[in-house]
Symmetry: C2
């Protein structure tokens, strides 16, 4: 039974990572016999997770119909609470975005209950979109800016939100009502870890050892080691923002002095780039618009803006150098606000990185900007929600009256 | 064939990690059928890797003879070149130390060829010990203080040895002669990574997420993530000693300023603890004796010695805090010279660590001293050499005329 379940998962992940194939080729690729693969495919079809596709050309043996993921059957929902917004996003099994909602919100000035009212509203809209897509939600993962006790589903400390010991999953379920959320589990996770997962495209070998640095007001990230997120002993890995890099510097939101966040977080950039009454520093305005204005000024050659970007870039490079000596990642992905304005910082980052790293040619580490914009965390959350199906396809029930080859 | 090989490896590793068991219990534990397990055990017996042990009580089905590792058949040889000594150690399949040799040597003042003459001499002695044990060497792994290009088997940079681009494996093979070393591969690796592997006892869950900080003159280490050494993109992970923690501080052997090594390496301790003409600073004397003298002075309450140890402990804690925010290890193991004098540093390290780490209660990270003394790296090297058998038992040939149940 356990073996069958893990073989079902093996077939499903193989279709995701290496694309549609005939049963014969699946059997050859997975080292299973063809009768076993046919039986596994039949069960996955019954569960609505795969379907038959086109005739395979040039395959093994006589031509057969390919098997592919039946994308539209189930969705994972991701949600996010950070300092500037709440957001949701749903991915179907094939990885297509089915729903996306975002609301700018100055969350740090609001009560946790009010913020979660807003989030519950977005989750309900997304669940409606999922239903309209003909799918059902399989799980909801909520990313939050702060330290998360995943087992108890509690945000223990969110320095930049000003939250402590908030039982996010329970509060969200209360707001969603049992009809909406009775059917699927709600888990919570650190948003920067989720942003890292969003960068780890399954099957892309060049990203198997990766460091994702995620910055908004808070700075954190994730370490992808050999293709998997490194979570550490109690799930607290990736708190890069609180590495002390400037011991004689500024006080951090966490109470310490000189944390990396104090020199590379969004506030450090904005404080250096603009006067207090400048609209780019107004937390009530949308962050994208404010960053677009920073980009506009930089492209016009504004000295103060460029100097601020270079200074932050220098400090990003210093911290990236520390982490690269320890981890030797193949790629450092800059995510969150870094991705939006990172093209102005990149030269400074790379210079510092090459100076700091002992290994020749910085150990082959490349610096890249995330292409996911502000959706990285919420997309990673939806990916994690879907992952439960790829690990155990029997979580999706068999459909009554389904037949092999049926499509949703 | 590939499946059979991986099943042979599965049985062998299971006997190592979970101890001797009957064929019936092995089959149940591994999810294989009993006939398959019997056939696998027969082949492993033919290869001299397992043998029958005692009658199992309270097992599944009728009582059967247990199967256990045949420890004495093959050995992995580990070797080490660091600033203070060259060393070798051989482990048999059961994990017993079969041979151990060490020679104090001021390697930095000698030519690489001369150092490898000494090392080749120790390897020959160890190979003789292995033969006297009735075993044969399966592989030789050489740990070196510096950056290693494992693929080309070249030490690219050894700042503290003063070596550059030394083809260690080739030079060692030349010195050993083809009769001695023709039969087994020679690979090279970073000594601090190997010291980390030595701490990762297979099957010990509490050490699945671990950080090993290894210090002598140079400082490095290894990250064990989910039970495996994190090597990074090009194998350069673990260069903790060159994280910049004190940008206004001292010049490092690598040419940078303020590397962690400059404040926690052995020289930092000795410079602070003793005048230049004090014998504890004489590199020609054995390191153990010099550290024993430091311990003696500390236990007599010598103020200068205690202050030096506390100061180094503070800096160890600062760097450990940076790494713990990033990695959230369950255990930090202090290895190398840190283990020898670490009891005097421990309070300072733990205090700094608790101050520095964002996660509550320092993320549950414990600080421990290695119990392996100066053998950590060479023991890890021997473990890696043996690992080739645990990954592919067919590397050991079938014995002519062997029979099931035979013992070497």
């Amino acid at each position: 039974m356990t073996l069958r379940r893990s073989n079902l998962a093996l077939v499903l992940r193989s279709l995701r990572d290496a694309g549609p194939r005939s049963r014969a080729r699946l059997a050859a690729d997975l080292g299973l016999n063809k009768a076993t693969v046919s039986s596994l495919v039949a069960e996955l079809t019954d569960r609505g997770l795969v379907r038959e596709g086109q005739v395979e050309r040039g395959g093994i043996g006589r031509p057969g119909l390919t098997v592919e993921l039946a994308g539209q059957s189930v969705c994972g929902i991701g949600a996010e609470v950070n300092v500037h917004h709440v957001a949701t996003l749903a991915l179907d099994l094939g990885g297509a975005v089915v729903s996306e909602h975002r609301r700018s919100l100055d969350t740090a000035s609001l009560d946790a209950g009010v913020v979660l009212d807003h989030l519950a509203d977005l989750v309900t809209r997304t669940a409606d979109d999922v239903a309209a897509h003909g799918a059902r939600p399989i799980a909801l993962t909520v990313g939050i800016a702060g330290l998360v006790d995943a087992e108890r589903a509690v945000l223990t400390t969110g320095p930049n939100l000003g939250w402590r010991d908030v039982p996010v999953a329970r509060m969200l379920r209360d707001r969603l009502g049992s009809t909406d959320s009775g059917g699927y589990p709600i888990v919570i996770d650190n948003e920067a870890n989720l942003a890292a997962i969003a960068e780890a495209t399954p099957g892309d070998a060049s990203r198997r050892d990766m460091l994702v640095i995620f910055g908004e007001v808070g700075v954190g990230g994730g370490i992808i080691a050999d293709g998997h997120l490194l979570r550490g002993h109690q799930g607290y890995a990736g708190e890069f923002g609180h590495m002390i890099v400037d011991p004689t510097g500024h006080r951090c939101g966490c109470g310490r002095t000189g944390c990396w966040e104090t020199v590379v977080g969004l506030r450090a950039l904005l404080d250096a780039a603009a006067d207090p009454d400048d609209p780019v520093r107004d937390p009530r305005l949308g962050l994208e618009d404010r960053l677009a204005e920073i980009n506009r000024r930089a492209s016009l050659g504004d000295t103060r803006t460029l100097a601020a970007l270079e200074r932050v870039g220098d400090w990003v490079g210093v911290g990236a150098g520390v982490l690269t000596n320890a981890l030797n990642p193949g790629v450092i992905v800059l995510s969150g606000y870094f991705a939006e304005v990172g093209s102005w910082m990149r030269a400074a980052i790379e210079r510092r990185l090459h100076d700091a790293v002992l290994a020749p040619h910085a150990g082959g580490t490349r610096v890249e900007l995330s292409t996911q914009g502000f959706t990285a965390a919420v997309r990673g959350a939806a990916t994690v929600a879907l992952e439960s199906v790829f690990h155990d396809p029997t979580r999706v029930e068999r459909r009554v009256g389904s037949s092999i080859g049926g499509t949703p």
